[in-house]
Symmetry: C2
Subunit: 451 residues, 2 copies
């Protein structure tokens, strides 16, 4: 065996797919390299709680190398993967600072996830913020909290109203959960803290072109969630298509305009540019969102050495949810291990649908579980149990529970610090007297605030 | 009394001085406006724990308007104060977005704090990071954690060594506590997570021009802290003057150069530009750091309506520590209340020195308390009790205790998420394929990382 190198597996991405694929390779006779664009794995289902001040970034983001600390065959590299050379079996990534580096592989697992789709309209992307990463979450948190501060400073009532209007486009779980939490901030956290505005006057508008919210849930759950959202003060606008977005609001088909300084985009899925590169190099078919159509064993057609798992894989219309990524990642890792230990190929990938769950507000969630439908408090307790169970073990689970008690039993939000940079104000560090450059502004437009 | 307006007090800054001044005005017959450059009050003595991943920003930063929620005579405005018109008694501030606004006052409390002094050398400021704000802390945290990531990616041993070298200039409490925590990250948190480098090989150098660390402490405490720092792997360089700083290291008098990609500046105090404006307008004398020399009642000479409290006030050589700000702020607030309720002026401000305390590492602190000197575990337990007592009451104290257990009983760091923006990598949001612009780089210089 002298001179023969161990099999090299490269995993692109440390989301749910990459994490569980790597886990499944723990005892495989292979050297595993995980390349991820940040230093952390994100527990995406709770990222809306970072955006709304309930949890800290560290409570939903576990360092990738901490995840695989006790997995000696695995190393972690920080880098943004820009290309895959399928002929030479090499991944190219960019290190912080901009320099490229290469990592060779024998087997590749692509778990790069998807990005938001703006349906080809750059203005939608330019004038909205999405909620996919810790970057997004801390930025959105600062915008939500700063919007109330700006409204307090405004002397023009119309301008104040714009600051107090929050539009969320896309009523999947992220949009629904975010809308519910912004409503709780406006109605439960902030009242009493302001002297000129009433935070409870905030207008929260949840928009979707489809005719019901949570379209992947049962109609009964959609209806229950809609009713609960309306009760806590969210305007639910279904069957409403956004035709334009600018720096001060959105326009709907039919001509209605909603002025809003905070605009969130959580509609539509698109494959990242890396998917197009891989599809081009391998000749793999893609679906209309650019996701790669995979074989029943999650490999790219004609390239059994390349697996695609998670949101980026297109197969049988499976939804882009954490459970598909977890099960797909585990399947890919186990398949590679079988191959390397000389066992015969297993069965094709089969997704076991455990169900859907989404929180609407404190003490209220909707859940569809293999025939069982729960809503209200029962759904919420299930949500609590499931998320507690799936949160990365150990250090941050205890503090998360403390935070949930603060936010849901109480009315507080533990994480409300907005940095000077985020607010577009000078940092005290240099004592700079100049007003900040306009591109640092947290929002693109404002009216006069002198009185 | 019809038509007669209530007395208006404006407080510039919501650090310790501004917070306690405003608190003391709770029952005063006055309308109080607090203008602060961020939305939060920072518990500065613990900010080094944010920079080193122990606490989240929310655990050391309390929203200003939450502090004064139950104080009906007080309102909070977000803004960066740029000028004071002492003739027309008006404060000018800049709102997020850049527009100026004015706030009139009858009595003014200036609690704007100080900034770092770079002794007139812009290169020192350009090539170091300080640790005064939440902005600084989250940025420094990302630099410390990313430095280890970069070292792992480096193929050139000299470049890797530069990434693994951390220089802290200034050995006051902030410098000492930071050096100790970086050592704990290197020796206790990260080992086992890296495959190519040994994080414990990190070199942590604490530099001061003075001949001992913690110069405001007793020589015995300085010696105890020095010994402890050396034991946990910190190089203590006292009597060493930094003559130059660049993008890859520092130079000391005598010609020695220390290559280091992470350079922290915590030496020297300077007044912010606002102090010069006020001094010029009032003719108030300033000390050599630009701080305003105040009367025994903390007012500006000839301007009994302007108080200066906290770090920005120069009086009898009082140190720039939290206790001076707390007591000075309280004194100013009470003095104003006495005036407004027609009571005679009280005694001049007298600072009651409760002592000094600084943590060196887990289970080890030094404390000088009115004749009593504690070090080691006894000092650390005192530190724990004092900080627990002074941390803002309520929601975040419980989670802080959980975090301390994780970090000090265990070896973890709960808050290690570095955003893509901080790391200088593209955010997944837009799926951008281009390498980031070099000005987004977390550090100014790097060597080749291709292999």
């Amino acid at each position: 065996m002298i001179g023969q190198q161990r099999h090299r597996v490269v995993v692109i991405g440390a989301g749910f797919g990459g994490k569980y694929a790597t886990r499944a390779l723990r005892k495989a006779p292979a050297d595993v390299t995980v390349v991820n664009g940040t230093n952390h794995h994100v527990f995406e289902p709770l990222i809306y709680q970072v955006a709304t001040g309930v949890l800290s970034p560290g409570e939903v983001a576990t360092p990738v190398r901490e995840l695989f600390r006790r997995q000696p065959n695995t190393e972690t590299l920080l880098g943004w993967v820009t290309d895959v050379d399928v002929d030479n079996r090499t991944v190219t990534a960019t290190a912080p600072g901009g320099l490229p580096y290469q990592v060779p592989y024998d087997t590749l697992i692509v778990a790069a996830g998807t990005t938001q789709s703006y349906f080809g309209n750059d203005r939608f992307a330019e004038h909205t913020i999405s909620l996919k990463s810790v970057d997004d979450a801390v930025e959105l948190r600062s915008r939500i909290l700063t919007a109330f501060e700006m409204a307090e400073l405004e002397t023009d009532p119309a301008a104040a109203a714009r600051w107090l209007t929050f539009v969320i486009v896309g009523a999947g779980p992220t949009g629904v959960e975010l809308a519910g939490q912004i409503a709780e901030i406006a109605h439960r956290t902030l009242p009493g803290e302001y002297r000129r505005i009433d935070p409870a006057q905030a207008r929260i508008v949840l928009i979707d072109a489809v005719d019901r919210i949570l379209p992947t849930f049962t109609p009964g759950s959609s209806a229950a969630a809609t009713e609960r959202l309306r009760r806590i003060g969210v305007e639910v606008r279904v069957g409403a298509r956004v035709t334009d977005v600018d720096a001060a609001g959105v326009e709907l088909a039919g001509g209605e305009r909603i002025d809003a300084m905070t605009r969130v985009w959580s509609a539509g899925v698109a494959a990242p540019p890396l998917a197009a590169r891989i599809a081009e190099a391998t000749g793999a078919p893609v679906d209309r969102t650019g996701r790669i159509r995979v074989e029943p064993d999650l490999t790219v057609p004609g390239h059994p050495e390349i697996f695609v798992v998670g949101d980026l894989a297109s197969m049988d219309g499976l939804p882009g949810v954490a459970q598909v990524s977890i099960q797909g990642g585990t399947y890919a890792g186990r398949t590679i291990r079988r191959r390397l230990t000389g066992r015969p190929a297993g069965k094709p990938f089969h997704y076991f649908d455990k169900g859907n769950i989404a929180t609407v507000s404190r003490f209220s969630a909707v859940a569809d579980l293999r025939g069982l439908r729960l809503s209200g408090l029962a759904g919420w307790l299930l949500w609590l149990g499931v998320h507690w169970a799936y949160l990365p073990k150990g250090r941050n689970r205890a503090s998360s529970l403390v935070r949930w008690a603060v936010a849901f039993l109480g009315s507080g939000r533990p994480e409300r610090a907005v940095t000077a940079r985020q607010a577009g104000l000078p940092s005290t560090q240099r004592g700079d007297l100049r007003p900040p450059a306009s591109h640092n502004s947290p929002h693109e437009q404002h009216s006069s605030t002198t009185w």
